[in-house]
Amino acid sequence: MLYFILKRIAIAIPTILALIVLSFTLMHYAPGSPFTGERPLPPEILTNLEAKYGLDRPFPQQVARYVWNIVTEFDFGPSYSYKDRTVNEIIAQGFPVTLTYGSLAFIVSIMVGATLGIVAAIHRTTWLDSLTVGITVGAQVLPNFIMAPILVLVFTLWLGWLPGGGWQGGQWPYLVMPIIALSTSFMASIARITRSSMIETLNSDFILTARSKGLPFHEVVIRHALKPSMLPVISYLGPTFVGLITGSVVIDIYFSTGGIGQHFVNAAINRDYPLIMGVTILTGILTVVFNLIVDILYVWIDPRIQY
């Protein structure tokens, strides 16, 4: 098992390096520059700025220097748009916020989604099943940039129960709406995946065997059907977690939560190369890590998988 994990990490390193080089190249050749504002800068200032940030050097050298700084000092460089801050500082400030509500939304999606899916599958073809399917279809097609203003309208403006935005160190009233807005569609997807795989599992021969042993039905579901029917859900968890982090773009804008989501868009508009690279690499690492966790869970659940 340890060998399997080490091997996967060894494969992940070149993946991330490739990601760095590719995104760096794409940005470099995209039109525009961090210093093209509404008023063109005088050429000598532009030359000075480019020299300061090393943009006057040949392209391969720029890439090499960037990778070198990350590998040796874990330094993602200075931000171009936030003049006095480094990318490391910006991420260190925003990422814990995103991670907090992202993880909570992740947990809520799984708990609520899996429960709804299992209930629907067990009560298949009854009104309960139809209701659950109806709700999940609705929730799945409702994007979070629609969900967020609706929540604000209802809970802040009409009912006055929750603050309309802000973070305040992550106190729970500030967490509720971001979590709901972020988790809804993932919750719905998980519910639908769970439902169909649970239905499939309940039709397996081994479920009939378990029932023929006289186990009560809820025992049959918990002991025999849960594990196999969660496998498709687990393979969906990697993309889900990454989707929650990138989905925080909308959340940060609507609820002023101050996570890193806002930087995905702003950094790109401002051509803040180091910040774009920072958030891209962060997302890349998260993807790799979560896919590794999913693979380990798979091996742990299904004894037939060899690693």
Partner: protein
């Protein structure tokens, strides 16, 4: 213990009378079992023989209350004289756990691939009996040794995919016997297995009947398999019992044309003319039952009343059949 068939006066263990199993499908009603009757006495081996789709498996599932959700059963199923058709689920579950065990066709898919053999064997015991895990575990190892799984103490913690099909079927049988059932329903227990392994499973079933006195309802389409083990045989076709009786009576003096056709279809090594005989035509579609005798479409001895009326079952427990032709002669 029960080497001779019991056909005496004692009460039957299981008595199915005029059972009808139907399934509601989007295309309409499908009749899987159409008025079948049979009974099994303690310690007896009854073979229920028929083609696929003849309703033999659904009969078994109806007994244990395990029909698919869209299935309904009518008629009467008596267990030790008490009606069990329509019992609430928790009582049926107790019946399955304590009295009637089942073994299914495909051992490869009938064991949960995600759980160890030990987990799957022990769970049924610790739940319903006051038994510790340690006691249950050693009982399971003993039972695995009874069904000739070598090195059972170590192998019990393996997963199903680490065993061959024949071994898995023996494990399934061991698992079903743990609760010392009065009746074991074996639904095509050898169909998914190699021919050489099939005989081992039949030997095992014989051994079990001798050792524990368990009655066995052996569901199969293989008459050859049945010959060496069964006390009595019921021939099923299109949801109905065509002929039933003591094994030697059915084999030596088959009365129903369908039984004769089945016996003719068994390849015989001493009459090798290079041809395999089959029964012309197809079994009737369970979704559209015909009137009269269900076999009339394929029967070479058809007379007018076969098409119009369903034949009555005549005869005794030793030998009975449902055919107009032999009723008249």
């Amino acid at each position: 213990m029960h080497s001779t068939p019991r056909t005496g006066t004692e009460e039957p263990l299981l008595s199915i009378c005029d059972l009808r199993v139907t399934f509601g499908t989007p295309e309409g009603q499908v009749v899987a079992v159409d008025g079948a009757s049979l009974d099994i006495h303690p310690g007896e081996v009854l073979a229920v023989v028929g083609e696929s789709g003849s309703g033999k498996s659904q009969t078994a599932l109806a007994v244990t209350g395990l029909l698919a959700r869209n299935g309904t059963s009518e008629g009467s199923i008596l267990w030790k004289g008490g009606e069990i058709l329509g019992l609430p689920e928790h009582q049926l579950a107790r019946l399955r756990s304590e009295e009637i065990a089942m073994v299914f066709q495909n051992p490869m898919t009938c064991l949960n691939p995600y759980l160890r053999i030990s987990t799957q064997m022990i769970e049924g015991m610790t739940m319903n009996r006051k038994m510790t895990r340690t006691q249950a575990r050693s009982a399971c190892i003993d039972m695995l040794e009874t069904v000739q799984i070598a090195d059972a103490a170590n192998r019990i913690d393996r997963y199903p995919h680490e065993f061959s099909g024949g071994m898995l079927q023996r494990i399934m049988i061991a698992m079903s016997l743990l609760r010392r059932p009065r009746l074991l329903i074996a639904d095509e227990p050898t169909t998914a297995l190699d021919v050489t392994v099939q005989m081992q499973i039949v030997q095992l079933l014989k051994h079990i009947r001798r050792k524990y006195g368990t009655a066995i309802m052996l569901i199969t389409h293989d008459l050859g398999l049945v010959a060496s083990i069964s006390d009595r045989i019921s021939i099923m076709y299109s949801g109905q019992i065509m002929e039933s009786g003591l094994a030697e009576n059915v084999f030596s003096n088959p009365r129903h044309p369908y039984t004769r056709a089945l016996l003719d279809a068994i390849p015989r090594i001493d009459q090798n003319d290079g041809e395999l005989r089959d029964i012309a035509g197809e079994p009737p579609d369970p979704a559209s039952r015909t009137s009269g005798c269900p076999f009339h479409l394929r029967c070479g001895y058809r007379i007018a009343s076969c098409i119009e009326n369903r034949p009555d079952t005549l005869g005794s427990r030793e030998h009975a059949h449902a055919c107009h032709l032999s009723n008249e002669t």
